[in-house]
């Protein structure tokens, strides 16, 4: 097996093509870097990942007499990598036979360590050091690396360059030009991933700046990623700017609910308010990035227009009612409806529900009577799948690196799979809506209220008994006798199955508004089970009951998600 030595520790790299940074990572050694990013081309210009390399061949170790950028240097069998943190290696490791002429009386790694400290000193020469008012402070790589690898004092006493800020860069993004360290990640992103090439480098030397071409602002559906790629506080998201100090934020893994791609996200929240959604790299789902629809599409969860408590309609007006009164009435009403005309009872399960929620609801309704019908809620589709990169004229270019799907819901496939387990054919929602059923439970949860209206159409016949559970008032809630609040994807614990059949389980990030009961809890209550619902227990029950979801039972599921059997009937 090809073996690479990182700070004397042997690691087997197998057949993978790795650079020194990646090989060091395998050995548990972090090599700091700015310009290098796994999903972008290598430019090796920030010079933060400098390491010393050599080759161990037939017991003889030859080290190169200079430092090399780790990101650009591939490793192969026998490569020896010495990082600036050589001194912190495990003391039990036997040292390799370093030539005294190479170390010159010092330790291996000292050269890399000094070079990295020198690079940091250079980066800070024209950096304003305005951390107290910088939004990035707390998660800034320049702060972190300066603290860990830098020197505490700068020898620079002259005036710093102070280029003007560029808030005109984009409607959603601003540039604090003086904070920029010219890693060019953002420029490469717009050239390689979005393909739209809005960003460029202008001027030379220490007067270099990131800029856009006149009249061509940074406006594309992936633009928000450049803020996340920026290792320092130069590119700021206007959406997040000055909203929260990042050290107050707690991060929870999430799955984006805004389209069928099902991007893995990192949800940043504080005191039950979502402040920011970032990409969580997941090669199985979407790769490294997310689109702006998902990134800025969390505001609905914080909206003041949400339905936040159960409402009962009497004499044309709705009135709040406590859950203790509502739940028994719901059970009673549906028991009666199912007894009178089971085929006239329809439960509409939207593609925004998790598979656990859909499973519990389906269990409840099919428990009332086998003749109760289950329908799939409206599936919002907007335009065509939007693929990136684009060329300068906006035409898609192969190979595709990112797709924003036309299907704007996270879990159609998961809900369909649950429904198929309970009944052979899925009733489409619009058919049920026109038919004039006796009783309907509409479990919605649509972040975009128009999505429901589009499918109900004008010939929607209001059922005699209508329970509408949604985030916002819609045409359905307007007709409903029971209006129940729903939860957003940030407020649930559950599993979504994306367009490609990848099942991703995510925990709850924030608590819903106080009087909101999650769909899962409500279905649990309707089933007459006692106490608080545990999503994990429901998941285990689902995995036992539905063979297609058996993969969800494993305790050691990969963080990237589980592939869902595509050939599922």
């Amino acid at each position: 097996m090809p073996t690479v030595y990182v700070n004397d520790k042997p690691v087997e790299i197998g057949t993978r093509k790795l650079n020194c940074v990646q090989a060091a990572d395998l050995a548990g050694v972090f090599v700091p870097h700015y310009c290098w990013h796994e999903a972008l081309t290598v430019v090796a210009s920030c010079r933060m990942c400098l390491v010393e390399v050599g080759e161990l061949k037939d017991g003889k170790l030859t080290m190169q007499p200079k430092v090399v950028p780790g990101c650009q240097t591939p490793v192969k069998d026998g490569t020896v990598v010495v990082t600036g943190e050589y001194a912190k290696r495990h003391p039990a490791l036997p040292a390799l036979p370093y030539d005294p002429g190479y170390t010159k009386g010092g330790q291996p790694g000292e050269r890399a360590k000094k070079a990295q400290a020198d690079t940091l000193e250079g980066l800070l020469i024209n950096h304003p050091l305005d951390c107290p008012v910088c939004d990035k402070a707390g998660e800034c790589k320049l702060q972190d690396f300066s603290f860990k690898y830098g020197r505490s004092e700068s020898r620079m006493v002259d005036a710093k360059n102070t280029p003007p800020n560029k808030p005109h860069l984009s409607s959603k993004i601003t540039l604090f030009t003086d904070r920029c360290i010219m890693c060019t990640r953002c420029v490469r992103f717009t050239r390689e991933v979005s393909g739209t090439s809005e960003l460029m480098v202008t001027n030379r030397g220490h007067h270099e700046e990131i800029d856009v071409f006149p009249g061509r602002p940074l406006e594309n559906k992936l633009a928000g990623n450049v803020v996340e790629l920026c290792p320092v506080g130069a590119l700021g998201s206007k959406d997040f700017l000055y909203k929260q100090r990042v050290w107050y934020l707690k991060t929870t893994d999430g799955v984006c609910s805004r389209c069928a791609t099902g991007c893995s996200t990192a949800v940043d929240h504080n005191k039950d308010i979502v402040y920011r959604v970032n990409a969580r790299p997941n090669p199985e789902a979407q790769g490294h990035f997310i689109c702006d629809d998902g990134r800025y599409g969390y505001h609905f969860a914080n909206s003041t227009e949400r339905i936040t408590r159960p409402l009962l309609r009497a004499d044309g007006a709705t009135r709040p009612a406590p859950w203790s009164a509502v739940t028994p009435r719901l059970r009673e009403a549906f028991d009666r409806a199912a007894a009178e005309n089971p085929a006239g009872v329809v439960a509409v399960l939207s593609p925004f529900l998790t598979v656990e929620e859909a499973f519990l609801y389906a269990t409840y309704f099919k428990g009332l009577s086998a003749d109760v019908r289950l329908a799939l809620g409206p599936v919002p589709v907007v335009g065509q799948d939007d693929t990136y990169p684009k060329d300068v004229r906006g035409n898609p270019v192969e190979p595709v690196r990112f797709t924003i799907r036309a299907e704007k819901c996270p879990n159609r496939r998961g809900v369909e799979a649950v429904l198929r387990h309970f009944q052979k054919d899925i009733v489409p929602f619009d058919a049920a809506a026109r038919e004039g059923v006796a009783a309907m439970w509409f479990a919605g949860g649509y972040p975009d209220r128009d999505a429901v209206g589009a499918d109900t159409g004008t010939d929607w016949k209001t059922p005699g008994l209508l329970v509408a559970q949604d985030l916002f008032p819609t045409v359905v809630t307007a007709a409903a006798g029971f209006v129940l609040p729903a939860t957003s994807a940030f407020e649930k614990d559950g599993t979504f199955v994306n367009h490609a059949g990848l099942a991703q389980t995510f925990p709850r990030a924030v608590r819903p508004p106080v009087e909101v009961r999650t769909e899962l809890q409500l279905a649990y209550d309707l089933l007459g089970r006692r106490g608080l619902v545990q999503a994990g227990a429901v998941r285990a029950e689902l995995a036992r009951a539905v063979p297609a979801f058996a993969g969800l039972a494993a305790a050691d599921r990969p963080a990237t998600g589980v592939r869902f059997a595509l050939e599922m009937a």
């Binding site: 290598v42 430019v43 090796a44 210009s45 920030c46 010079r47 933060m48 400098l50 190169q64 200079k66 430092v67 090399v68 950028p69 650009q72 000094k114 070079a115 020198d118 690079t119 250079g122 980066l123 020469i125 024209n126 020898r155 620079m156 006493v157 002259d158 005036a159 360059n161 102070t162 280029p163 003007p164 360290i181 010219m182 460029m200 480098v201 001027n203 030379r204 030397g205 220490h206 007067h207 270099e208």
Partner: protein, 454 residues
Amino acid sequence: MPYEPVLLARVGKPDSHRLEGYRADGGYAAFERALKEKQPADVVTQVKDSGLRGRGGAGFPTGLKWTFLPKDHPGPVYLCVNADESEPCTYNNRILMEKDPHQVLEGILLACYAIKARTAFYYVRYEYGDAYRNCQAAVDELYAAGLLGKNILNSGFDLDVVMHRGAGAYICGEETGLIESLEGKRAWPRIKPPFPAVEGAFRKPTIVNNVETLACVTQIMRRGNDWFKSLGVPPDPKNPRDAGSYGPKLYTLAGHVEKPVCVELPMGVTIRDLVETHGGGVWKGRKAKAVNPGGLSMGFVDCNAKLKDSDLTEYDIPLDFNGPGRVQCLGLGTAAVTVIDDQTSMVDVLHNVCQFFSHESCGQCTPCREGTGWMLKIVDRMRRGLGRKEDLDILVDVADRIGIMPGTTICGLADGAGWPVKTAVRKFRGEFEAAIRAGTRSRYAKGLEVVGAH
């Protein structure tokens, strides 16, 4: 016996840049002979055996570079002619391009034949308007005469020469910066490997050669290797890595000399000989204090510093590929000798140097981008009489650590920016310290720039 110029033989003749004149002097005979009698590999071998080393600055053996091309590559293979001569005080390529463009073009034809290139890109710096126009006219003449285009002289050899005018950036003289610029991009040097010979312009194997190198190719093919090796300095037997410094070299003289000229001499002339004999001595009867032996990037020699174990001073070092290195200079560079007289302040000289490199740093790698700017700020403050004694140590430290040699940058610009700074501070430390102590403001110092405007 005075040396009879070869490369510059036709300079000064009437219409020296025209094809008839060049043909009358035996031009293109070597190319025609090579086309008829020699295989491309023979040309490569002859150039390799001649010991010709690149005249652009680094002194890499030309023939060896040609052999780095992948064998049996389906093509296309490109030749890039580096005429982005931007090293301060260097103008030898300019004279060749303006006065004898056909000599260079014959070298291009020979080189392309040797490396099997069907297209050559002639990258001329923007500032060389006359050179560009003369070369373009010469290329047009060659097309008209059937020496360029399809099936040249019925040999089946096709060649196009594309003239390309740069936009005025020093970094375009770095071979991969040149290639990027040629491709229409920002001239940010590429990371190597892959070297251009493997993957260069438009991702195809590319050889980048200097103008003077190609003129030498012409002369080698015309006069033979024995002539070429009869000039210059053979390799140092004690140094197995020395490839020798054969052939004629165009030296340009600038700065404080009586006659700033371009002279052709066999390699290995001493600085003293060059300045005193060919340049008419230091101007105004003054003495030389420092000399820049080969373009600004090479650093300075201290004309009064004694060499070890001899009465000679650094002023007496030979200008071959090894000479300047013996006195801590970077190398021969472009052999552009700049003389600084004894009444010039080294602080002002250094300011000029730092200004240049800070302006020309492409800004890709952090150490160079920030280092060159920082050094300029320090020297600028020093020049205004506000220097501190620790500034000298900072300058040397920064200059020592930036560059491709310590491994902290992609290209050699930073080495070239650091070398003059560290050689000046190390060799003239007393003068710098005195200037800092006195705190006098240089009479060339301008007011501070308005902060924020640039």
